[in-house]
Symmetry: D3
Subunit: 61 residues, 6 copies
């Protein structure tokens, strides 16, 4: 623990996601007082036709 699940619109590059994972891990190590290897981060990349805001899919916008 902790376990972080990130639901986000697909399309971010490997470099972006690596940086996100690195920084979030550092944030939790520093502020939640845990070891780096205790931090698990899961990315759920979602297609625009699977995310709706205000009743409309992102693929409709």
């Amino acid at each position: 623990m902790p376990i972080i699940t990130i639901e986000l619109l697909e399309g971010r590059s490997e470099v972006q996601k690596k940086q996100i994972a690195k920084e979030i891990t550092e944030t939790l190590v520093k502020n939640a007082n845990v070891k780096p290897e205790a931090v698990t981060i899961l990315f759920h990349d979602l297609k625009p036709e699977n995310i709706a805001k205000g009743g409309k899919f992102l693929s409709e916008k």
Copy 2:
């Protein structure tokens, strides 16, 4: 907020999912007293070989 995650068997059409997203948003606007754009709906389409009921995968039925 609110955030609604729908886990369902893959295969619904875009039209079906659009109608589901539209109606669920209306339901929450009306009953949870929120603005439409505050409502986020995420669809997790799952393959039949990733859903088990009664110890058997849907792909086995």
Copy 3:
């Protein structure tokens, strides 16, 4: 299936949540072609100090 998880700010009344559950079930029966008893809805009521938007907790707003 389907399984719907609703993450929302705590505080809605039982009446509001009953109406939400009723309408969402009807929406999925009508549009996803499933039986009412196949629809499971889970409410995760969250405290304002456990929901952050724009880097601030709702309890700070």
Copy 4:
């Protein structure tokens, strides 16, 4: 109910996953006092580039 979501690294065979679903269902029937068909198990197979431990993706290890 109960609903079990399993987040795991993609790559397990159908046979492995069938056995996992079968045994977990038996465990819950025996220990949670529920009927087999009440137990729903969802598998979220994740790519190694979507799982980070200690700030590094499994695809980097």
Copy 5:
């Protein structure tokens, strides 16, 4: 990894939940080829008024 989240109706005893956690861990060690300490199990105990089946909360049944 793997990470198992169990959504269930509150009320199971500590003994029941210990046995569930023990057996599910064994199942994954045996069938998913992982070490015991790699298996994380999270229990989300839900109140009957937060679980709806067929449009009705368990607290209404």
Copy 6:
């Protein structure tokens, strides 16, 4: 979007959680190219008797 859910052992202070929310939001704004208010972070604080690692609850350790 994005939506971040953090499952963690209960007990972190408000100050710790505010700093976590602030830094994670900054990380996503910078690396996922989104606006701060688009970032939603949900904390699921779990009791030690609801988290099992290696088949044992944290409350047993």
